[in-house]
Symmetry: C2
Subunit: 404 residues, 2 copies
């Protein structure tokens, strides 16, 4: 028996594991001066909305009676949820998506990581740096990334699209031929959102070069500005070059429930094969659907009362982001994001490494951040702060920023 | 953009889709003579137990309050469920498994399909014929099966271990070098269960040849006979060569809830790499855990009252299997299985193809079966009947078998 040789190429553990280890080390060597404020993991803090909880209760009761019991779910998801998504997230906004193009999943991470099952092994992948690590790691495991260069901190076969202060975090188009481009807007970790015309440039590029865009829109619910598109299919020609991935995690607080969906337009045909049909085959082989009860919870998210509550939660997170951003700026930091996304992208004052900056923030404010280098070389000098933290934590951080 | 070329190698849709299409065709061309009795898909019919439903209600209420809300689950599963599994399924039976070796998942199908992420691309895979199609299809997608031969109905790079009437469905050991062996006992579709000594022979073979066994024990709860092992780790040396996969679907009726687990012993080290650590990395990259609420439901399965109810459900399914088996035998069929598994493996009287036999049963009894050829060449002349069907369906089938 021989193992997949690609796993040995990983130099570091998944970033959140490293942060946790670093924190544990710190706690062991430093007597606690004050409460540790964790703003590292992008996990929500508001509880589920009552309408969602009621839906779970009802669905559980259905599962307890012979005549309303549901076993395996339909392969692409229960029609009640598929139609709610179609009507609310697409048709109501005039965005062209068909019912057959929606696939319900157990969350955006699974979709983001598994979509590469459909790619040939030797295609060229482009990622924006900074990136959500799953785009790269899932392709490393599938032999698509090449070798890791310890000096440049980059993989030999990947194409990196730079997004940094120089271009205001709007990545440049690829300068060489690529087959797949992962885009994530509103962006984790920078908080940047692309405007309609900025996104259209990528769609035009993809159509001109027969490339495929994997558009991770997990943070769509945070969009506030009218000029930021809520779906890639608002761009002309996107149905011919883009897959869109969405999540209930960051909008409705489903991080612990697990629910997401992916749009694969029927127009996406490469080498005579429909990606929609390939994915249907992939899911029929490797997945047995999201939990019925959680799909019912997802349907409840579209009730008007729940929609309003979720919108209020998001406004609350963004208001916290605004308050923290102001305090950070007052304390002398350069800060990006937080306007159409729940993340602040904070620059080190001393141009130090992101791990050194992480440690400085931990030492001075007892705040846990995520070091920017976890997201790529453009993350050096930066840390990410998650604004999903509870109010108590946000308030304490602001207090310490003002006093220290 | 070029696609994974392996998807084009599939000659047929996933079997249950084909059965559904066949049935739709039949319904369109044949006026209904009597109610169609569906015994094809292995989906449970009993509703969830009340103890499980109460646990879901409690967990949902927890998710609705700020101080008891749970976001992302721990990477390997919530400790309350991991410990319940460890204590009930292993420690109470004296079976050697450690807490760190248990990985909670959204069901056995995901685990069975994804475990091959850990294998090198050019290893040799052995499957028992008849097989659960996911073992093969997941490896086809990963370039590990070679080419499909339309004449033999077999893949060029797979090794098939024959299980048929000649060897009483106990497969022969591999006659050539193989790296991984998929075993599924109690077996889907034949209903066969291996005895302790029969399974020990495979464990001994694997240890002698440095092979890995993927032991799919999704139907363990149906074991009635004391000589049938309830875990592969009851075999000497199995911790050095076997991964075990279990499911809550067929025991507690969780087909719609989605919950399972996998045991990866820390002793499994190949080429200096721990499979347990590799899987932890795989899951951290591609999965975000089973739903918290469903993990709470899984914990409730181990309450003494729920355990007793589940046992009674299984006895009920097996009693139905016994009744149907007797009626089929009286009607002249040769029938296997149904004693330690919820499936009957029924032989055609006329030595016809399994699809012809499928059509005969549909025409004569209006019963939907699964044609044996879906599970491999040893399935020709056979169909599988699922005994998970509701009592009303079972009763009608027995009546028709007696009368027609």
């Amino acid at each position: 028996m021989r193992v997949n040789p690609n796993f040995a190429k990983f130099k570091e553990d998944y970033v959140y594991v490293s942060v946790k280890e670093k924190l544990t080390q710190y706690m062991q060597t430093h007597p606690p001066q004050a409460e540790i404020l964790d703003l590292s993991i992008g996990d929500v803090s508001f509880p589920l909305n009552q309408g969602v909880i009621e839906a779970i209760h009802l669905a559980a009761d259905q599962q307890g009676k012979m005549d309303t019991f549901h076993g395996y779910s339909p392969k692409k998801g229960h029609p009640f949820l598929v139609r709610a998504i179609l009507e609310n997230d697409y048709q109501a906004k005039g965005i062209p998506v068909n019912e057959n193009e929606i696939f319900i999943s157990d969350g955006a991470k699974s979709d983001v990581a598994h979509i590469q099952d459909l790619f040939a092994e030797d295609i060229t992948i482009a990622v924006v740096d900074p990136f959500y690590p799953v785009y790269i790691d899932s392709n490393v495991m599938a032999s698509r990334a090449g070798e890791y260069d310890e000096k440049t901190h980059r993989w030999s076969r990947l194409v990196y699209l730079e997004a940094n202060e120089d271009n205001a975090f709007v990545p440049n188009l690829p300068q060489q031929a690529v087959d797949v481009i992962y885009l994530n807007y509103p962006n984790n970790p920078t908080g940047k959102a692309l405007t309609q015309s900025e996104l259209q440039a990528f769609v035009d590029y993809a159509n001109q070069h027969q490339a495929l865009i994997i558009y991770d829109a997990a943070y769509e619910a945070f969009i506030q500005s009218a000029e930021i598109p809520r779906s890639i299919y608002t761009c002309q020609g996107a149905r011919n070059c883009a897959i869109e991935i969405k999540s209930f995690s960051k909008s409705a607080g489903f991080t612990g429930l697990r629910l997401g969906y992916m749009i694969i337009p029927e127009d996406l045909v490469y080498e005579g094969q429909s990606l929609n049909e390939m994915w249907a085959r992939r899911e029929a082989t490797k997945f047995n659907g999201a939990s019925f009860i959680i799909q019912k919870a997802g349907q409840a998210v579209y009730q008007p009362r729940v929609k309003a509550e979720i919108k209020a939660n998001i406004q609350h997170y963004l208001a916290n982001a605004c308050r923290v951003k102001e305090s950070l700026i007052e304390a002398g930091f350069v800060v990006y994001g937080g306007e159409n996304a729940p993340y602040l992208w904070v620059k080190s004052i001393h141009e130090q490494s992101s791990w050194a900056f992480f440690e400085e923030l931990l030492n001075k404010y007892q705040v846990v951040s995520t070091p920017g280098s976890a997201y790529g070389t453009n993350g050096e000098n930066f840390v990410r702060l998650s604004m999903f933290a509870a109010d108590g934590i946000i308030d304490k951080l602001i207090k310490r920023l003002k006093e220290l």
